[in-house]
């Protein structure tokens, strides 16, 4: 075998549907709206799903989507306008740029790639708000990124579910 098996080539996926991308982003937004107070370690679902699609489908989900999602998050969380768009933009840009590299790795290493992206997103938010005179939220705030990276496995499975096709074993077919 000359070609190295990668995660992306292990199974042949159906093309992604636009409505499912929007639906998953809306579901993540809804999860973010659930008021859990300042619970530590709850991931930013919108950032996570956005990272996933910007890595998987950089042609479909990019900075425009990130900007709009960020604006909605700003209003929903009552933060300063522009804080979430700025952070999500950089996430979508980095995710799209690294997409060809990240997809080459198995899932565990993909999660390791996504972790610094999520951390950078939170860091941008902290920097923006502290420049605006807000209080440092404590180191527990960054735990959300770690739990988000751990969720990369189930997230990949769930979000790719509509694209899987039944496995047909045929000895005579090349792929």
């Amino acid at each position: 075998m000359a070609i190295q098996p990668t995660h992306s080539s292990r199974r042949i996926l159906l093309p992604v549907k636009q409505w499912f991308i929007l639906f998953s982003l809306a579901a993540a937004f809804f999860l973010d709206l659930i008021p859990l107070g300042h619970a530590v370690g709850v991931p930013d679902w919108v950032a996570l799903v956005l990272a996933f699609w910007s890595v998987r489908e950089p042609q479909r989900v990019g900075m425009g989507t990130a900007f709009v999602a960020g604006l909605l998050m700003d209003v929903a969380s009552g933060s300063v306008m522009g804080q979430h768009p700025l952070a999500y933009l950089l996430l979508a840009y980095a995710g799209g740029g690294l997409s060809r590299r990240i997809l080459w790795f198995p899932l565990a290493q993909q999660a390791l790639h996504v972790l610094p992206l999520l951390l950078a997103t939170q860091l941008v938010m902290v920097a923006t708000r502290m420049a605006g005179g807000a209080d440092f939220p404590g180191w527990g705030y960054f735990l959300g990124s770690f739990s988000g990276a751990l969720l990369w496995f189930p997230l990949t499975f769930v979000l790719l579910l509509p694209q899987y096709q039944p496995v047909e074993r045929d000895e005579n077919r090349p792929i």
Partner: protein
């Protein structure tokens, strides 16, 4: 038909370069940040989007509400009985004060009339319930279930049964946002009940409050009660806000470091009272003109 002259297949159409797009959006969001932080001109956008998001927000609140209701349903009978006994005891304790309150208020009014002072304003209030803590981890805010439709306006003071909780900072049609006194950017003019010293109380990290810029030898002791001074025209005078918890007097600094604990249940959820807006304070005396005059005189003299 020849292939030449055809537009390129859509596969190659990718719009502007990613870096150019990034630069465009980053500039846009930086502009948003500046406009919101510095000029506060984006409230109408926020209002519009918030109204559209309201049903979704209420739906997202449902699981939390359900969880709380189930918890309350299964709370033991004993706990409820204990709470009932506690409330009865409290009522009896406060009855002494309440019964005399009416008498004292009448007496106060008569004395004020005798002294020809302005009567104290009556206080009206709207009962509201704290729905949830705002998600933003950088500030301390809660969302209450009364908004512009119920006559709430920005700047009104919010109290609970034991003291000042905060101030309404943003009003949506059906709910409003209350910034707690423990928020870093929230300042409350207070006076120390024991000594009458007037100062300003700021939020500090960790759910505490801080008295800044008080001289190292200021007359403050742990246990002192801080009440609103009413100088700001927002809070009614005399509402308890905080109790001094620790006083650090370090000779190296000219100011004492004074940490206080809020009196009200700032981190708890429950019923709160949104006090009606106070009457505007009398216009401030124009000091600036008096200060400017000698300056002008000096300049004029120099020119001569």
């Amino acid at each position: 038909m020849s292939v030449v002259g055809h537009p390129p297949p859509p596969f190659f159409k990718r719009g502007p370069a990613p870096l150019a797009r990034l630069a465009f959006f980053v500039i846009l969001s930086l502009a948003l940040l500046v406009f919101d932080l510095k000029y506060r001109t984006l409230e109408w956008v926020r209002q519009g989007v918030a109204v559209a998001l309201y049903p979704l927000q209420r739906a997202a609140y449902t699981p939390v509400d359900l969880y709380e209701q189930v918890g309350a349903y299964f709370s033991r009978l004993g706990a409820v009985q204990q709470e009932n006994a506690e409330l009865k005891r409290k009522e009896l304790e406060s009855a002494n004060w309440l019964l005399r309150q009416q008498h004292l208020e009448l007496e106060n009014q008569r004395l004020r009339e005798l002294l020809d002072m302005r009567a104290r304003q009556p206080v009206s209030g709207t009962l509201a319930e704290i729905l949830y803590t705002a998600r933003d981890p950088f500030s301390r805010r809660v969302i209450v279930d009364k908004g512009g439709q119920h006559g709430i306006a920005g700047g009104q003071a919010v109290v609970d049964e034991s003291g000042v909780l905060g101030q309404v900072t943003r009003v949506f049609p059906l709910q409003s946002e209350v910034t707690l006194v423990t928020d870093k950017n929230q300042a409350v003019p207070v006076k120390i009940l024991r000594s009458g010293l007037r100062t300003v109380l700021f939020g500090a990290s960790g759910g505490q409050l801080e008295l800044r810029f008080l001289a190292a030898n200021a007359d403050v002791q742990p246990g002192d009660l801080l009440v609103t001074s009413g100088l700001d025209g927002v809070y009614q005078p005399g509402l308890p806000v905080a109790r001094v918890a620790r006083v650090d007097r370090d000779a190296a600094y000219s100011f004492a470091r004074i940490l206080c604990e809020p009196v009200a249940g700032v981190e708890k959820h429950g019923q709160v009272l949104i006090l009606g807006a106070r009457e505007p304070l009398p216009p401030q005396v124009e000091e600036t003109e008096a200060r400017d005059k000698p300056l002008k005189g000096r300049r004029a003299r120099k020119k001569e």
